[in-house]
């Protein structure tokens, strides 16, 4: 019997994995992808709770999250490309201009 617990824990797991990827990896593109994973985990929670409560608002929110993810990916990749053009690298540790 699959309950909402399963979905919640699964989404927590996905979120944690995404976070781990974002924290551990130094490749900016993988960090971006990990952020997408985190968003997916959140979407999963929304959909699961939507199913549980039998309202569709969660679907709408998931839709918005996707839109935001798309915008984020577009901008993020544009930034990565323009950064790569000047620095020839995509390692996050190579970009430390804002270091204190």
């Amino acid at each position: 019997m699959i309950t909402i617990h399963h979905y919640l824990i699964l989404s927590a797991l996905l979120f944690t994995l995404g976070l781990l990827g974002a924290v551990l990896r130094k490749n900016i593109l993988i960090v971006l992808m990990s952020i997408e994973v985190m968003m997916n985990a959140i979407n999963l929670t929304f959909i699961a709770v939507s199913r549980y409560l039998r309202v569709m608002d969660g679907h709408v929110v998931a839709f918005f999250v996707m839109a935001v993810a798309a915008a984020e990916a577009a901008i993020g990749l544009a930034i990565v490309v323009s950064l790569f053009r000047t620095r020839q690298t995509i390692k996050t540790t190579d970009w430390r201009m804002m270091r204190g």
Binding site: L19, A22, V23, L24, R25, K26, I28, V31, T92, T93, W95, R96, M97, M98, R99, G100
Partner: protein
């Protein structure tokens, strides 16, 4: 009539706004505007106020026991502890005051047109003058102590502005500054008195009504003040000493002569400086409850009168003499108050306003003609400036207490009350002072108008224009007849002012015999002193010089105003400056506040920022890690 009461102060305010606008425009254009407009507006506003005041007086005369009250015009502020409404009150006392203020004020305004002619700040001058009238009327007409205080501060401001009217002259600006600062000291006492009144009410609060500062309310509940009366009245009197130039705060008034002479006449002789007397008279029900205060007031008034008269004997500056004379006369008024005779004080206030304004304006006329203030450069002006001379003589006679001019009646009243209520020493000293007054006034008159012309360019001297002469004439007339309102019963008069203001204090019955005897004594004494002065300065000027040389030590001591200014400088200002500069500024502010608190904290902030900025590694993963850590903490706190 009540409907029009607010107009009395508001008309000068409108005049102020108009003239201030004109002055601003003039400053913008760097060109003096036409003078007819500010003078018209500036004189029309007080004149209309005067007309309204007369109307108010007229209405009040029908039924003197029902003061005209506008009721609260608007609620100024209202809290659970205290509520203050803005309202106007015209009772007999304030009706007398507004008549003096607007009447004398109007005359002085008109006089100013001539006096200030061609001045760069013509419109500015009239705007200040109108503003002064507004605040003075607010002070007099306010129905509670706080409105009075507003007017009190406002006239202080205008006084400052007008003393320093020619602010490009550093000395004059400094005089204004001095007046302001000294007044502040007095105002501090006044404020404490106000707070104490509030404290007295609040500590024994009963009933729902809380407009504590209303005069009528205070009078109806005056028993509340019984325990604090002495302290409160002393504090209030401290304020009065500042405003009305009494010992120890009189030092500003002689310096205030730096302003234009009409200003000295209006503010520093006729109206503003009497605010303290008005305030004490207004709250006389309170002062009555504190006999200690009254005796202190009397002593200080007498001391001031005597000391100022002595200083006045020695001064050469025409305005300075008049200034000390003013201080001396104010001392008389306080003496009257101290002797429990507010009516006499107000009576003297009124007559003093007439003849002192006349004197000042006459002096102004002389100064206008000579462009000089030193009486040693004058003399023999009587023939050249006939009207000025005559009016000046009339006013001198009035102030000297020669019957039947106004000064005689009012001063005699005070001397009588001193004899009746005070000790013999007080009486003797006050009579002595009266003689001194007569002496220095005749010295002034004789030196200025009689004798030989000592001015280097005597041909240029001429009588002033009509706008200046007519106010002089009117004021001289008032100086002559002004005393008739207080013509005592013993001389067959009705003593109207006693009936009019009788509610302030029950008049004491004095045996007619005694009254007559005292009158004769003082009249003879004053005549003798006047004659002496006339004789000494007119016929034998050499004697005075020899006298000076004989008593050079005492003379110079008196000439230097008893070294009071130096004393203040040494005892108060120097230590104060030392404390401010060395201890507070260089020691505590620079070292402790700046050094430790301000810069110390910036050091702390800088160092901690350096340390915190170590967290700012620039590595994306670290930031995410911190974010995550925050999330974990938040979750722990939120979910637990």
């Amino acid at each position: 009539m009540v409907k029009f009461l607010p107009l009395i102060p508001l008309l000068p305010l409108a005049g102020f706004l108009f003239n201030a606008g004109l002055a601003l425009v003039a400053t913008r254009r760097k060109k003096a505007p036409a003078e007819w407009l500010p003078s018209l507006i500036g004189c029309l506003a007080p004149f209309l106020s005067f007309v309204l005041s007369v109307g108010a007086f007229w209405v009040l005369r029908q039924n003197p026991h029902e003061p005209l009250i506008t009721g609260p015009l608007f609620s100024w502020f209202s809290t659970s502890l205290l509520s203050v409404d803005f309202g106007f009150l015209v009772d007999p006392l304030s009706s007398v005051m507004i008549l003096i203020v607007t009447g004398v004020g109007t005359l002085i305004h008109i006089y100013s047109i001539g006096y200030m002619k061609g001045d760069q700040g013509f419109a500015r001058y009239f705007s200040y003058l109108n503003l002064f009238l507004f605040f003075m009327l607010l002070l007099v007409m306010g129905d509670n102590l706080l409105v009075l205080f507003v007017g009190w501060e406002g006239v202080g401001l205008c006084s400052y502005l007008l003393i320093g009217f020619w602010f490009t002259d550093a000395e004059k600006a400094a005089a204004g500054f001095k007046a302001f600062v000294v007044n502040r000291i007095g105002d501090f006492g006044f404020l404490i008195g106000l707070f104490l009144i509030l404290f007295a009410f609040l500590s024994q609060s009963q009933g729902s009504e809380n407009s504590y500062l209303n005069y009528s309310f205070m009078e109806n509940h005056k028993e509340i003040f019984a325990p604090l009366a002495t302290v409160i009245t002393l504090c209030l009197f401290a304020g009065a000493t500042g405003k009305s130039a009494q010992i120890p705060l009189y030092v500003w008034l002689p310096d205030a002569m730096a302003g234009p002479t009409p200003v000295s006449a209006l503010i520093h002789a006729a109206t503003m400086v009497t605010a303290g007397i008005y305030m004490v008279a207004r709250l006389f029900f309170l002062f009555e409850m504190a006999p200690v205060t009254l005796s202190i007031i009397g002593s200080i008034g007498l001391a001031t009168a005597l000391m100022a008269a002595l200083i006045g004997l020695t001064q050469y500056d025409i305005k300075k003499v008049l200034a000390y004379s003013t201080v001396s006369q104010l001392g008389y008024m306080f003496l009257a108050l101290g002797m429990g005779a507010p009516v006499a004080a107000i009576f003297h206030l009124m007559t003093h306003a007439f003849f002192k304004a006349c004197l000042f304006l006459g002096a102004g006329s002389v100064i206008h003609a000579l462009h000089d203030q030193d009486i040693r450069n004058m003399g023999g002006l009587f023939s050249k400036m006939k009207y000025t001379g005559i009016t000046f003589l009339v006013a001198t006679l009035a102030i000297a207490g020669i019957p039947p001019l106004s000064g005689f009646f009012s001063k005699d009243e005070i001397l009588l009350m001193t004899y009746v209520n005070g000790s013999p020493v007080f009486y003797i000293l006050s009579v002595l002072t009266a003689g001194l007054t007569a002496f220095y006034m005749f010295r002034l008159f004789v030196t200025t108008f009689l004798g030989k012309t000592r001015h280097p360019h005597p041909d240029h001297i001429h009588e002033s224009s009509l706008v200046m002469v007519y106010p002089l004439k009117i004021l001289a007339f008032l100086s002559i007849v002004g005393g008739l309102v207080g013509l005592p019963h013993v001389l067959g008069g009705e003593n109207r002012i006693h009936h009019w203001l009788g509610y302030l204090k029950e008049a004491t019955e004095v045996p007619h015999q005694l009254e007559l005897r005292l009158m004769v004594i003082s009249t003879v004494w004053c005549l003798f002193m006047s004659g002496l002065a006339f004789y000494l300065y007119c016929c034998h000027p050499g004697w005075t010089k020899r006298l000076k040389q004989k008593g050079a030590l005492i003379y110079s001591f008196i000439f230097n105003k008893f070294k009071i200014d130096e004393l203040y400088q040494a005892v108060i200002i120097k230590p104060l400056l030392f404390i401010s500069t060395t201890l507070l500024w260089k020691g505590s502010d620079q070292k402790i506040v700046d050094g430790i608190l301000v810069h110390g904290w910036t050091k702390v902030a800088t160092v901690s920022a350096r340390l915190l900025s170590l967290l700012q590694t620039g590595v994306l993963g670290h930031y995410l890690l911190f974010l995550w850590g925050g999330l974990i903490v938040f979750l722990f706190l939120a979910v637990r």
